[in-house]
């Protein structure tokens, strides 16, 4: 902590009042540390796509409504479009590119292929990142709006998965197969 109580992480002073403010942002993405200078208005999503060229995370609505930008930050699923990159210094971010490779797919990627859980594929990276976060939440015993009781012991029924995945929209409406793919992987767990 500095004497002022303000972190050293702040915008560089503007050259003129109308000037764009920039900041240096250090983040770990898919296990790799990056240090990037960016306009402080940059969303985490834009940082990933435009500056780190990780274009797997998609920009659908850019307002947190569609879930196509879902990534994992310190293990939790969030909408990358609704957060400033500058607020994520030091965070550990995982995108779809960090979950699997064409040679070694993540079990959810395999399940989405097996169950034909997409048509156009635009929402799929967000669906899969969201499902990774969702399975972890269920493992921790978090209830959902669809849960009969608030106690632990989550059984991932179709209704539970639909509710827990409601932050991810699929314009092709591949929902039944998305639910099947996720159930398939959830069932693999002890």
């Amino acid at each position: 902590m500095s004497i002022t109580g303000l972190d050293t992480m702040r915008a560089d002073p503007p050259a003129s009042p109308q000037e764009v403010r920039t900041a240096t942002i250090d983040v770990t993405v898919n296990g790799r540390v990056h240090s990037v200078s960016a306009d402080i208005r940059t969303s985490l999503l834009d940082l990933l796509r435009e500056q780190l060229h990780l274009t797997g995370s998609k920009k659908g609505c850019d307002h947190g409504q569609c879930g196509a930008c879902t990534v994992l930050v310190n293990g939790r699923r969030i909408n990358a479009c609704l957060t400033l990159a500058v607020m994520h210094r030091g965070d550990d971010i995982v995108t779809i590119e960090g979950l699997g490779t064409p040679e070694k797919l993540h079990p959810l990627q395999q399940a989405f292929l097996r169950h034909d859980a997409f048509q156009c594929g635009y929402c799929t990276p967000g669906q899969i990142c969201s499902a990774v976060g969702m399975l972890d939440e269920a493992r921790q015993g978090w209830a959902s709006h669809a849960s009969e009781t608030l106690g632990g012991g989550v059984v991932l029924s179709e209704a539970e998965i639909s509710e827990r995945m409601s932050g991810n929209i699929c314009r092709c409406s591949a929902y039944p197969n998305i639910v099947d793919a996720i159930r398939d992987v959830a069932g693999d767990r002890p």
Partner: protein
């Protein structure tokens, strides 16, 4: 998005020292503020990032209640064992709101301070007294399906969007703050929100630069607790009407009742007269109808939201049936 300055605070004292200018905003989860900044509905000159402050803890109070750090995430609060066990109405309200991704980012303090989802507030081409005092209200005479039926004014008919705040109102939460000069203050949730009147841009009792640091819940209330939300989709939609209800029974009669309503007003609505109409009565359709009459005496629709008046009545009565029945909530 307009350009702004940014600083991250690492103590509450440092955060409030940076504030006080109305053009300075605190940012925590940012899920609502950034959305509005993208649309230039919100145009702060400076953001003070409070997301790393040590205000995430949920801890018992000496009084037997629960202290909730303003930065406790909505998902963590909903999953907290003490909340699930002793304040289930709060868990249920949180889980009925937003999406899992948003609940993983949204904070308790930020949830209380959400802005309305009135479509005219969001549309900068429309006049809005909340966005620009004195400009007029495009919702009056506009499409009002999501708008208020209680406590409206000629200047604003917007609703408060939060589910969590409705449960907090039923639970009699207290909001604990730190002012720009470091002074602490406790505000009962019943005194926290303001009706629109002729100043709909002033939504809460907070002074400029005042920071919410905690919420406090009193000891767990007696009786059964439920949260019921009626909306246009099965998930991920704002309430048309919601009810947070807590009722205890004694000898076949209603001994205590707390009913707070979402989707109806500029604030999470609670009317003591409704609860007084119920207390001491045996549960019956007549008693519930009479209490609904009290709630809705002054209700006023604006056309497209007229349906909310009978919907509120039916939802309230359904909740009261469940709250006073023997079955588990």
């Amino acid at each position: 998005m307009k350009s702004f300055d940014y600083a991250r605070a690492d103590t509450p004292e440092a955060a409030v020292r940076q504030s006080g200018n109305p053009a300075t905003k605190f940012i925590a989860g940012g899920t609502n503020l950034l959305d509005l900044m993208k649309l230039e509905v919100e145009t702060p000159d400076k953001l003070v990032d409070i997301s790393r402050l040590d205000l995430r803890d949920i801890a018992p109070t000496d009084a037997g209640g629960l202290s909730i750090g303003a930065l406790a995430l909505n998902s963590d609060l909903a999953a907290d064992d003490r909340v699930r066990t002793h304040y289930p109405v709060l868990s249920r309200a949180l889980l009925a709101g937003a999406s899992a991704q948003l609940r993983n980012k949204a904070t308790t303090g930020g949830n209380l301070l959400q802005r309305t989802r009135c479509n005219y507030f969001y549309d900068t081409a429309s006049p809005c007294n909340k966005r620009q005092p004195g400009a007029g209200c495009a919702a009056l005479g506009g499409f009002t399906r999501n708008h208020a039926i209680l406590g409206t004014s000629d200047h604003c008919i917007a609703t408060h969007p939060s589910d969590m705040a409705v449960a907090m109102r039923a639970l009699d939460a207290t909001i604990v703050t730190m002012a720009a000069d470091g002074a602490r203050r406790r505000i009962a949730i019943g005194d926290f929100y303001r009706l629109p009147g002729d100043t709909p841009h002033i939504e809460t009792a907070l002074d400029p630069g005042e920071l919410i640091t905690h919420l406090e819940l009193p000891p767990p209330p007696e009786g059964k607790q439920i949260y019921r939300k009626v909306r246009d989709r099965a998930s991920y939609a704002f309430a048309l009407v919601s009810v947070a209800g807590i009722v205890s029974m004694d000898g076949g009669k209603i001994a205590s009742a707390a009913l707070a309503f979402g989707g109806l007003a500029h604030l999470p609505w609670r009317d003591k007269r409704v609860e007084d109409a119920l207390i001491g009565n045996a549960p019956s359709t007549d008693a519930f109808e009479a209490a609904a009459d009290v709630l809705l005496t002054d209700a006023k629709g604006f056309g497209a939201n007229d349906f909310k008046i009978p919907l509120t009545r039916r939802t309230m009565i359904a909740c009261l049936r469940e709250l006073t029945s023997g079955a588990a909530a």
